[in-house]
Symmetry: C2
Subunit: 333 residues, 2 copies
DNA sequence: TGCACCCCAGAGAACGATCTCTGGCGCCAA
DNA sequence: TTGGCGCCAGAGATCGTTCTCTGGGGTGCA
């Protein structure tokens, strides 16, 4: 009933603990006959090293925490997280590191910092859209390395690990796409004022329009959600009814905006073109399918995992990679 | 730099290791002064017990694996998994057990069985819609207890842990809902023939219609996906054009069916009523919003977690709970 | 043939928390 | 005052793996 240990394997193979360990570690410097005997014994007994003992002896935990907001997982915005989560999990899988899920939004307890102190994981990847302030503060002082997916609002150390996409370039791409399809009466639905990525998209949008000599038009802020996109669109239409090109800073907001445009009698894209941001599932299922700025979400998760693993293993690596955004043409623009 | 150990705490408090351990374990039988000194020392040093050492000494791992298909996480069907995942993760959180994500679909290696043998987790929860056959076989012989969410195709031991919803009752509810809204020319789009839950829904549907004395109409099979729902609907319309009530065995298939109905000129629900199954996000965002049979996905995840934790702790518990399904009325029927 | 060096196997220690066992001290009763 | 009992703190062992150190044997060269 009890699981076989290294001693059992060694005894079965007629060698000492140390020799068995050497063989199983990928044994150089071991007699072939002994090596074979150990391999056979391990196979027959179904031996697998006890991870706790290995970890205790001084190795790494071989696990990395994924800190996510559980409550958002199965909401409409969930595909944002799940894509990053999927990439991160795959990256960790390839590095033979186990992903441990930690909820960021359960309560105000200090369980996450305590868990990180218990050495059960070698590091953590933070995947949050709406940040949890008290948590971010605690994480800045983490005893293990932290990788952020998307730059947070809190101040980070210069050598912090941050994986982001080219939000500024994405803003430029959106502006160029609308202008190239002949739109001139433009408006933007941006994300929250105090989020770095949201601001970068605004800057890119404005710089590109300035370069092209086109009026930048009005700006409304939303919270990246579908509803906030609808509200912002309604506000824009109140101010200036003859818009013909909308750049929304998330696909969800773009969808909310399209619904308002359509129920006001405008057709997309013949009357108004709409460009979104993110390229999540809803961009393909909306009517019409959404032209959008693609963030490589899965790649961002994967790169975060790879970068963090490299740091844990003390390899040199770029700690703040920026992944390119691209224009995906569908039918809304 | 090195993290404080129990010895450091004991030294700072001027007591022995054993006394410090007793205090931190929730110490009865310890002098109040010593107890206070230990608590203060632990607080000041920021002590947190090394999980590997605790685990090695004979305790439980304090972690449970969540086996999911990564590739489906961010697809349209993803909300099914993520809802269960969310419930399971919350249930584990409440039990102070860590969820460790394992991918079921990365390759054909034996990493999952090996991981389960390494004692890094005390059990595993399997969340799969499309099963991975070779894996299911390996899991039946798992060294740690396994909880299945949804009954798998493989044969399980009589004391296996299986959390399911009342698929049979759900089929009955769907039939009654369509009949009560006056529909008589019915058809069903079912799931794969060889899946137990899919078959249970068919049985419920047929039994209820038999009880009501209504013709059960034709049946088409799909794969739970949106596209397969469209295909099945087209097939049904080919056979018998005057249908007025459709029960689809998943919300995705119901959506696919609605699209085909609408593009054939039929209106939902005035010409044809449609009832789905699952109640995932797409049921609320479709046009019209979908009347559906709700599976309590998050509860299923939570119950799976709670049941598995109880079994690991050797408590008596119902190992095969069935959670109720309910009718959620929206606009498609 | 003898000496020295190298290679490889085994014994021992260490990781850190927890449980058992022992011993000492204090209190109460005879 | 002494013996016995009970309570509580500390020393030691233990979990299973890995790393270091030591010793023995074999081989090669002089």
């Amino acid at each position: 009933m009890t699981r076989p240990t290294l001693v059992d394997v060694a005894r079965a193979a007629g060698v000492s603990r140390a020799t068995a360990a050497r063989v199983l570690a990928g044994g150089t410097n071991v007699d072939v006959r002994m090596s074979a005997a150990v391999a056979v014994a391990a196979e027959q007994l179904g031996y697998e090293a006890n991870s706790a003992a290995r970890m205790l002896r001084g190795g790494r935990a071989g696990a990395i925490a994924l800190i996510v907001a559980f409550n958002e997982l199965d909401s409409l915005g969930g595909t944002f997280f799940t894509s990053v989560l999927k990439g991160a999990a795959k990256g960790l899988y390839d590095a033979e590191v186990q992903p441990v899920l930690l909820p960021a939004d359960q309560d105000g307890s200090d369980r996450i910092p305590r868990f990180l102190r218990s050495r059960a994981v070698d590091g953590a990847i933070i995947i949050l859209q709406h940040e949890i302030t008290h948590l971010a503060q605690a994480l800045v002082a983490s005893p293990v390395p932290i990788a952020w997916v998307g730059r947070p609002r809190v101040e980070l150390a210069a050598d912090a690990i941050v994986v982001d996409s080219d939000n500024y370039g994405g803003g430029r791409l959106a502006a160029r796409a609308l202008v190239e399809s002949g739109r001139r009466r433009l408006a933007m639905i941006a994300g929250p004022r105090d989020m770095g990525p949201a601001r970068d998209r605004i800057r890119g949008w404005r710089d590109e329009l300035a370069d092209l000599g086109i009026d930048r038009g009005p700006l409304a802020h939303g919270e990246f959600t579908l509803e906030s996109g609808s509200v912002a669109m309604a506000r824009l239409l109140d101010g200036q009814g003859d818009l013909d090109g909308i750049f929304a800073s998330s696909d969800l907001m773009a969808n909310g905006a399209m619904r308002v445009l359509q129920s006001s009698g405008r057709r997309v894209p013949s009357d108004v073109s709409v460009v979104g941001f993110d390229d999540v599932v809803i961009a393909t299922t909306s009517d019409p399918p959404l032209t959008t700025i693609r963030q490589p979400l899965e790649d961002m998760g994967r790169v975060a995992a790879e970068t963090l693993v490299a740091v844990v293993q003390q390899h040199e690596v770029d700690r703040q990679p920026i992944l390119p955004t691209t224009l995906v043409r569908r039918q809304s623009a």
